[in-house]
Subunit: 451 residues, 2 copies
Amino acid sequence: MSVTNASPAQAAQAAKSASHVLATLPASARNDALTAIHSILSSSRESILAANAEDMDLAKKAAADGQLSSSLVSRLDLSKPGKYDDMLKGILDVRDLQDPVGKVSLKTKLDDDLILERVSSPIGVLLIIFEARPEVIANIASLAIKSGNAAILKGGKESTRSFVAIASAISKALESTAVPNDAIQLVTTRDVIPELLALDRLIDLVIPRGSNELVRSVKEGTRIPVLGHADGLCAAYLAADADPALAARVLVDAKTSYPAACNSLETLLVQESALATPVFTTAARALLAAGVTLHADGPSKSAILASVDDAPTAQVVDVQESDYDTEFLSLDLAVKTVADLAAATAHINAHSSGHTDLILTSDPAAAEAFLAVVDSAGVYWNASTRMADGMRYGFGTEVGISTNKIHARGPVGLEGLMIYKYKLRGTGQVSLAYGEGEGQKPFKHEKLPLN
Amino acid sequence: MSVTNASPAQAAQAAKSASHVLATLPASARNDALTAIHSILSSSRESILAANAEDMDLAKKAAADGQLSSSLVSRLDLSKPGKYDDMLKGILDVRDLQDPVGKVSLKTKLDDDLILERVSSPIGVLLIIFEARPEVIANIASLAIKSGNAAILKGGKESTRSFVAIASAISKALESTAVPNDAIQLVTTRDVIPELLALDRLIDLVIPRGSNELVRSVKEGTRIPVLGHADGLCAAYLAADADPALAARVLVDAKTSYPAACNSLETLLVQESALATPVFTTAARALLAAGVTLHADGPSKSAILASVDDAPTAQVVDVQESDYDTEFLSLDLAVKTVADLAAATAHINAHSSGHTDLILTSDPAAAEAFLAVVDSAGVYWNASTRMADGMRYGFGTEVGISTNKIHARGPVGLEGLMIYKYKLRGTGQVSLAYGEGEGQKPFKHEKLPLN
């Protein structure tokens, strides 16, 4: 890893060149590099935590002066119990994942001795822009090396000392490995993000890790593809035939288990005929008891006040139209009454951010219709939206959650850092030999096993 | 299909809404629509050709005035022998391809009665921008309907009458089918491309079909993902151990079988030790005999003039450095002498457009090294670069050839018009039930057969 004061273009050019070496290394060489990184970060714990403590001192002062949020200061702290060990464990977890490079996904005999293969290969150069959390650098460097991608890392200025300490250690570790040092570039110069985002000939994919504002500003400032999501505006449709206890349990988990997460629930669509029944009132009671403020439309508000005994009225407020487009990230939930499934899916397809949406119903046909028509990365039946997560899906890691409509969608594992190339191995074949003309022959197009 | 004078935003909104219906139709309904389109375009041949003749009259006049190129006029002509029949056959060919919608590519039991599926689904709304060839409209409409995507079509003004005639016929055909008319929008108003390219919340993918200039201007003018390639700068590396006859045959096909194609050869890298041998001179002789002008560097020029008897000296000219970055699209070939494989791949990774690159060698180890290190969509060993084509690869159709580093790369078939969604079917599971804490349990993450 180079801790560089080079210009963004120089860093990107160095990363591009290194990516061509990295892409050809065998899995063992990439894994050995991760082992070396793990080992040096273990032995450098003290000096890295000392650097982090300096960042923390400055950040605390800035927070005291009101220049930094206390949540940012908290995310900066590497000395929190378990955090450093989690970072170390994460490196080995990534190392031990299946190698994503060189997987053959298509093999066709075009003709005798003319074999086409589609083989997974690294995308090339990743640009990772992140904010305060310094442990992300080890995670991202691991993911990049494992997947054979070069990476340029740009962190927030609050964690510069921590980054430089971690980066220097990683750089030292890589010296003894086959992974080129230039494959991981740490850019510490300030205000270079616009310059980096303009390098669309050298950088192949941008992954912003941080606040909605960060993601949105990155997406708006570049023609490089961006993997991520600005918003997680998840909705649930509560049908009148849902199981009341099941629905209440799922809704409470989806709304309250981690309200600041992108996969948390923000909108509840209630079928009109459910309003006066235990289906809705059980859910409303459970949500209110869990401390949720319901931003309710007229019919749902009336139903709550009429049917939920001693409803805490401060937690039942009039909804604003804009609430249906708001990612609260807090214990607030917008509630809307809809006539039926069609109205619910129309609302979701118009207002959802395409992250994860849910139907609560006992009717399999209605559930399947919902899963088919809702155009979101995750479409769920009777399970909490909080399941939308790479670890929970069994990917072993999570690069991010994408609401893009191409390449990778939903929780993204290592696969999202891969593309493919076509390898064609022939024995002198030429295009003019094939066709329907005289002396020409057809292709064989015989599918071969992928083994 | 709507032939619309609606605003671009209205057309895109209508397409988006229709896409949600189209995405849920069974394959039979989408196929029936293609049958209906085929049938009406067969019976409307006369009126469509009459409209095309009007376009042709105007285009010929414009060409006579020097306002249009004669090649554009030629591409406009639907009455060329076989062209209309090919268009009709193409619709049925697309109809008879395997259904790309609803394919399950991952199935995992997260826990008992909690099953995750990754299912292929349409991307949403495609924007297709094309130039003169009016038959593209039938092809693209077929591909969109087959893949469950809505599409907005914007054609060149020279073919407006042909487009409107074809579009009206398709619109009439769709009336009797389950495919919503709004799913295919033809925009005929002029100068709306910038407006369309700004609609990144409604349009999910842009596919420009036409000249390099069109593709480049589209790529530079939008944040919507663009599928395609601006340049096809293909290179071959001729190693000293290549079979002379094989190499000459492949190079002549790659350069001359269709020089204007994106998969044609533009640069020949010759190993220095091959210069004075039959490996190079056989190839040079064959290329010159096929009418190719060789833009040669010093060493290769000397070798040609010294070793190729009666070489036509007008066809051996001094190379300019910029020739190595030029897509000639003509019978011109830049020739450069390189020391070895490493120098060749370094040149290619710096100058190639990432389309298709070739090594000619008898050494399997060198070939595999080339295929691994060259970062292009197609990497070939001893076969013509002209093989880079969706039909030749056996995809049954070609949406385009992509030099992108994400989503789809190389010749793109119907798969390139698909993304996936995650369907999670549960029985009331919540996130807080899983983990390593007290009372929590681990996920099962059991892979299930895809069948």
